[in-house]
Assembly symmetry: C2
Homo-oligomer: 143 residues x 2
């Protein structure tokens, strides 16, 4: 439906959507167009999940996020989460000795605490999955 695209541009939704007053940058509402307002909250679980499989640097994780449709998330958000996670002990990092195609990169590895957290988050996500299904089942196809 191209009409929905038209609606997107003209309505309060899309990237320009702001709740009530407020204007400018910040978080705003990003339901549609860029990415869902839900999706930002998937970054943290995703990072832990990726790191459980293999050690990776921020840039690599950014690419993996893109692969699952989270490419619109700002790199700064990802780097910040990684540093915060290191501070609270969910991940550890070391500078990569083998030179990359660029400046040195910080390679992250998940810790025991991180794995524990991931297990919790995994259960949490499964519940979220059910909740989303419940919401979708409420919605009648077209009006």
């Amino acid at each position: 439906m191209k009409n929905d695209q038209e609606f997107l541009r003209n309505s309060n939704f899309g990237s320009g959507f702001r709740r009530g007053h407020g204007h400018g940058r910040g978080r705003g509402r990003h339901w549609i167009g860029e990415y869902s307002l839900v999706d930002v909250r998937l970054v943290e679980p995703a990072l832990l999940a990726f790191l459980q499989k293999e050690n990776l640097h921020g840039y690599g994780l950014l690419e993996k996020l893109e692969a699952i449709g989270l490419g619109a998330i700002s790199p700064s958000v990802v780097y910040r989460i990684l540093r915060d996670y290191e501070e609270i002990g969910l991940v550890e990092s070391d500078w990569d000795v083998e030179a990359s195609q660029g400046p040195p990169r910080r390679v992250y590895a998940i810790t025991a605490d991180g794995n524990h957290a991931l297990r919790q988050v995994s259960n949490s996500l499964k519940e979220t999955l059910e909740r989303i299904e419940a919401i979708l089942s409420e919605i009648e196809p077209d009006v």
Copy 2:
């Protein structure tokens, strides 16, 4: 695994989890225990979905949220969203004439714009569903 419960209380996760510095109220991190950090973002889609089916007042919507596992969300959040949605034209409200078991209640109805938004959000949620499934599939069962 009761050990996970123990972990919950002692670790940085659970309701007391704060990223880096910071302390006190605000949004914080509520991954585990209370509800997932993702779930707060499901309130807006859920409200629109509920209102597509029937006109309801805030308190009734709060009960419907609880029914799908979103009972831990603050009523203030819901009332604020409803007023904001009215301001931007996604819903309309009227005071209920038939007295309830309490003070008068404001009954909300979805508008044409609201229905349009719901359709967009519905598609968005379907993508989110796939993303969560992608994340969960990355996670290996236990370490």
